[in-house]
């Protein structure tokens, strides 16, 4: 038996390359065909390698099989349905002339172009994230369903509709023009940001899946940074944000899946290599003239990797939150700002401002009120923690709040 080691995630890695290259070649209307051929290729590998051991060059084996399967399928489609032929992007008249280019360059370009096609403004956001996970990350339907905490049927339908939409809109798989690129890049970054958040903030207890999602978002954003056309300050800012956040991932959740609050996190579990990568890309991001929300969020995330309390830290954070709320208001950011404000100006001042926000349906609003009232007004504090308790859904969140109330009782 061959004893050479299998590269981890080889199938997933090669799935996205093969699917992107074949998808680009077949055209946007035939993405499912590209996915099928890639899947069948790994099925063949599983049926062969399991019993015979790994081939000398696994990747070359996969590409040969994928190419043959693609050629056979094209020939079969040609025989079965002449109508499909004009839609296919190849112009060769016989299958011998079809060239399938799985070189590094074409595979990277195809993946980036596919990213722009999938993240087209005409496709709903959720579907963009789902399709990206399927085609650009090589996830299965079950894995995507897990990530979204939903069932396989919902995801299958969502992906089907998204593919139909791409087909109807005849979205080309290509780099946008120089004129369009900033706007199109915005949509792509929003999707990557959502993909990352799905992993980082999701209530899903599967910590491997969460980490995988974050690493996939990082990988796709890195592809954008590595291409001169898309290596822009805003992309570097997003990548910095992702690295800073991921660096604290292990420390955020304990063995039983509970969130560990920032103040209680074991800094020994922080990944300092990722923090320094974040620092590198934040520097790269500082070259442009515009400050995006990713710049501000990355800078906020940077300060969170500095555990020591200092006047400078909280004042910088307050300024960053002020700027962030100006360009991209969100209730969560507003509430986070108030927490920072309490560190800079004290609890009383923060309470004043917090009361102006009318977020009574938001559990974090009540949690924050509970925190700020602690040491000032016991009854108010307990009351708000209880309100928060009634609004949260997960056991982990409930346990967290119970613990806070217990601490108050002392």
């Amino acid at each position: 038996m061959e004893s050479s080691e299998l590269i981890p995630h080889l199938f997933r890695t090669e799935f996205r390359k093969i699917t992107a290259v074949l998808g680009k070649q077949f055209g946007i209307g035939h993405l499912d065909l590209a996915e099928d051929i890639a899947s069948e290729t790994f099925l063949s590998a599983m049926e062969n390698w399991s019993y015979n051991g790994l081939p000398a060059n696994p990747v070359a084996w996969l590409y040969t099989v994928a190419k043959n399967k693609a050629k056979n399928r094209i020939a079969r489609e040609q025989l079965l349905n002449e109508k499909i032929v004009p839609e296919l992007k190849y112009t060769a008249t016989s299958t011998e002339e079809i060239e399938i280019d799985l070189s590094q360059k074409n595979s990277t370009d195809s993946q980036l172009q596919m990213l722009f096609a999938i993240c087209h403004p005409s496709i709903p956001k959720e579907a963009q994230v789902g399709l990206s996970l399927r085609i650009l990350c090589g996830f299965g339907i079950g894995e995507i369903a897990n990530a979204f905490l939903t069932n396989k049927e919902t995801i299958t339908k969502r992906l089907y509709r998204a593919r139909e939409r791409l087909r109807e809109e005849k979205i080309p798989i290509e780099f946008p023009s120089e004129k369009e690129i900033s706007q199109r890049l915005d949509t792509v970054l929003t999707t990557l940001y959502l993909l990352f958040s799905e992993g980082y903030y999701s209530q899903n207890g599967d910590s491997f899946l969460k980490k995988d999602l974050c690493m996939e978002a990082i990988r796709l954003t890195t592809m954008l940074v590595e291409n001169p056309l898309t290596n822009r300050p805003v992309v570097n800012a997003l990548l910095a944000l992702m690295y800073f956040q991921t660096s604290r991932m292990e420390a955020r959740i304990n063995a039983s899946g509970d969130m560990i609050l920032y103040d209680d996190q074991d800094t020994g579990l922080w990944d300092y290599e990722l923090i320094s990568k974040g620092g590198y890309f934040l520097n790269q991001a500082a070259t442009g003239e515009t400050i995006s929300k990713y710049h501000l969020e990355a800078a906020i995330a940077y300060w969170h990797t500095i555990k020591e309390d200092s006047k400078e830290k909280w004042e910088s954070l307050l300024m960053l939150f002020d700027q962030l709320l100006e360009i991209d208001y969100s209730p969560m950011a507003a509430l986070n700002r108030i927490y920072v404000l309490s560190k800079v100006k004290g609890k009383e001042a923060a309470l004043e401002e917090l009361k102006k926000l009318n977020e009574t349906g938001n559990p974090f609003f009540h949690t924050l009120l509970g925190e700020l009232y602690s040491g000032i007004d016991y009854d108010q504090s307990i009351d708000h923690f209880q309100k928060a308790y009634s609004l949260v859904h997960t056991d982990a969140e409930k346990r967290n709040l119970s613990r806070k109330m217990e601490l108050l009782g002392r």
Partner: protein, 117 residues
Amino acid sequence: MDQYALIMRHEDGGKIASPEQMEIWMKQTMDWIGSIAAKNKFVGGTGLPFDGARVVKHNGIVTNGPFGEIKETIGGFITVKADSIEEAVEFAKGCPVLQGEGNSVEVRRIAQSDGTH
């Protein structure tokens, strides 16, 4: 020492499995076979792809798969050497397809033709 065929019956997981899942299954099968080979008792084996399968009936009628109950479809087999049916059964117990509910591994002695038995 007799030879036994370990015949795996399972659902066609390949069509629905993610690339990652296929890789995991493959790795598990390689480890399973590796553990038998380490005892020098592995003879050979193969997967039997589900797609394009046909069944030929006695009256010459040819049908497509799947054949009978989905979970009873043969997905592959390996041949091992074993001192007894019990030892062959022990090998079968390690087969990763048994993780799937309803899946099974059938253990069958291979008929010898050299007259040594």
